[in-house]
Amino acid sequence: MSTTPPADSLVELAARKQLPHHQFTDHATVRWIEANRPDFPDSVTSALRATSQRLVYRSAIPTVWMANPQLADSLHGVRHAMRTATLAALLADADDLNEDDTATLVIAAAVHDCRRVHDKDDRGHGARAAIWLTDNADTVWAHFHMAPTPHRIVSVATAVRLHDVPYDVFAPDDLTDYARTRHITDLLKAADALDRYRLPKLSWWPDPSRIRAAAFTSLRPTAFELVVASEAAHLAGIDSADAVLKALEQRGLIT
């Protein structure tokens, strides 16, 4: 069997700087991710608390929320949303966030990329998602069986808006907003970064130096295994939401 990835795999396209606008994983790319497993120390991740498990189930967001439904199964689609929501819940547990703040963070993680129009450097998609979220707060919180309070809406919208703005280019308004939602924003950025193991180039994988979350490093093995297991399950024919749920069950994160 050839060990060279096919020319149209994401990993090969990334190497040639020819990634398409819409990017869907493939067998060669998942094999490449597995083959490049970092030398993680052993780690055990406990099951999510019951309330977080319920939120993670709901993080399979409806396709109609997406600005471009073509992305539902892409690198920024439902699987990324659910893994980011799961990692956000784990980061929240590690930082002893209360249930309300955990829910705020998980909801932010679930919707943070929903207004993307493509899988490349879609600048401003965080701001678009924040506006959309504010306009559709009743629908979003109802989906999670919760009520949208002004504080919750502002917290989620702010974290979502800032998630694609690097810390070092925060404008004065960004800094003001960040000061009000620092913890949620930091953890959303960390959860989003942890899921970068799905990206088809090593230099794009998680970079701890850009992260402000204490549990980031210890969660890297879990993040890596979730990517491999859920991407492989999806390629085996399971839909995106079930692929992630299956990976979560295998890791004992949901029961």
């Binding site: 990334a14 700087k17 990634l19 606008h21 600005a67 471009n68 129009v117 493509h118 899988d119 490349k120 450097d121 998630h163 694609d164 703005v165 690097p166 810390y167 950025k189 989003d192 970064a193 970068r196 990206l199 794009w204 998680p206 970079d207 850009r210």
Partner: protein, 204 residues
């Protein structure tokens, strides 16, 4: 021949000139004295440079209006541009851009802030402009119906040439326009490629 029930597309006979600041000042002084002043017309323009068309969403920041324009040939591919144009609300500019981007045109998009002052001089509309890409430049335009004869088109082109000559401005040839546009697009594409692939999704 336009299809039955549709309005004929106007033909825009358009020529351009690029020049230095000194020429700009001299041209402006002449136009201020001798031309009809049609006022400032600053714009922010989203260009979609397609293989054989130019699509624009124009936010007329000075006039407080906006429009979408489809030119059926690109700059540097002939002086006559059939165009389809319709007004939109200024508030709808972001949505229009989002729609075109979502349709897949985003890789072809450029943006430009154009400072522009319009004049009419001897039957020619002259837009004295500055943009980052072009520097100081002017557009000379005469609009004709789409069924204008070849003679009318030649006459319009001659009218523009005469006006430019009288104003001491050298018009660009089609080849110069094509070369300049290709060079600009090449630089812009290289910039986008670098952004798109080196910063595909920067970790933030």
């Amino acid at each position: 021949m336009p299809e039955e029930g549709t309005k004929p597309l106007p033909i825009e006979i358009e020529m351009r000139a690029r020049y230095d600041k000194e020429t700009h000042d001299r041209l402006t002084a002449r136009l201020e004295g001798e031309a009809t002043d049609l006022g400032r017309d600053d714009k922010h323009i989203y260009f979609y440079v397609l293989p054989d068309k130019l699509l624009k969403v124009t936010d007329n920041t000075a006039a407080g209006t906006a429009k979408i324009t489809l030119k059926h040939s690109k700059i540097g591919q002939g002086a006559a541009f059939p165009e389809t144009e319709f007004p939109i609300a200024r508030e709808d500019v972001p949505a229009a851009v989002a729609v075109f981007n979502a349709l897949g045109f985003e890789p072809h998009m450029h943006q430009a802030d154009n400072q522009r002052h319009n004049y009419r001089f001897r039957g020619v509309e002259i837009a004295v402009k500055w943009s980052e890409a072009w520097g100081h430049h002017a557009e000379f335009e005469v609009l004709l119906d789409d069924d204008a004869s070849d003679t009318a088109r030649e006459e319009a082109a001659a009218r523009i040439s005469t006006a430019a000559q009288d104003l001491g401005v050298t018009l660009m040839t089609e080849q110069e326009l094509a070369d300049f546009t290709a060079a600009f697009e090449s630089v812009e594409q290289a910039r986008k490629d670098q952004l798109s692939f080196e910063e595909i999704e920067p970790q933030t």
